[in-house]
């Protein structure tokens, strides 16, 4: 383990805003995109199931 305490870890050696800023935006993008594509897929299925015949 590289860190002696949790606050040490979150401080990132003084680079907290840079490191966590990079990780937070990456996490946000990679959490939102799967939701968006799943919604698009569900919409496509629903449109097909409800299409008039």
């Amino acid at each position: 383990m590289n860190w002696s305490s949790a606050s040490d870890f979150f401080a990132m050696g003084g680079y907290a805003s840079y490191v966590w800023g990079a990780y937070a935006v990456t996490l946000a993008c990679m959490a939102v995109e799967p939701v968006l594509v799943a919604l698009r897929h569900r919409r496509a299925r629903r449109a097909l199931a409800e299409a008039p015949r």
Binding site: N2, M12, G21, A22, R40, R45, L48
Partner: protein, 256 residues
Amino acid sequence: MSRRSIPWFRFASPAAFYPLAGALVPWFSAVAAILAAVGLYLGLLRAPTDATQGDAYRIIFIHVPAAWMSMLLYLVMAFWAAIGWAFNARLASVVARAVAPTGAMFTFLALWTGALWGRPTWGAWWVWDARLTSELILLFLYCGFLALVSAIDDTRRADRAGALLAIVGSINVPIIYFSVIWWNTLHQGASVSVTSAPKMASVMLLAMLLMTLSFWAYAFAVVFVRARAIALERDNHAAWANDAVGAMPARQGATS
């Protein structure tokens, strides 16, 4: 002939692709999550602090995988767009369109994480360096592809126009990759290459490779879901699509 030939084109049919991709999505998602958990554990908790860059270097564990994926996905997009154009393979064009938003997202992330890494190490969020500029052009190429295909109403015409843009734009990928060799750039050279020993500690290298594989599995999962959605949207009158969603086949107007 037909009995012994290898069914190369079996999965070129949406009817075969749709259930296969659907079955693979949970596996790629699980692999992405597990590899990310291990990669982040090694990269953020176990890897030592860098002697010259301090802990700012830890951005590498998402920056390099995102940058690699941005280039790889562009080539994947251009390849399938070209196949879709050359062989009139509709599913290939669907895959090309499904790749583009994810590729654009990874390009944005490479630029974003790079800016947050550049500021503490170079003293600048952005410089008009060959590596950074060519990566920015990659983002514009993705956006151009997406704008172009969505601006043309005729689906197959849009696919062909997008393919042309994607193929011409692929010249940018080797320019990005070799920019740190061809020009004198502020951006550092490759830390990892197939021809020489890596220039970093093994735990750092392992974490970076695990994160790369995680992003790769993530891209597969997301692209498959999007390709399934696009295939359904396009073939909303086809029998396979009705079968896929469990709807009753159309009764009126069905001639076959």
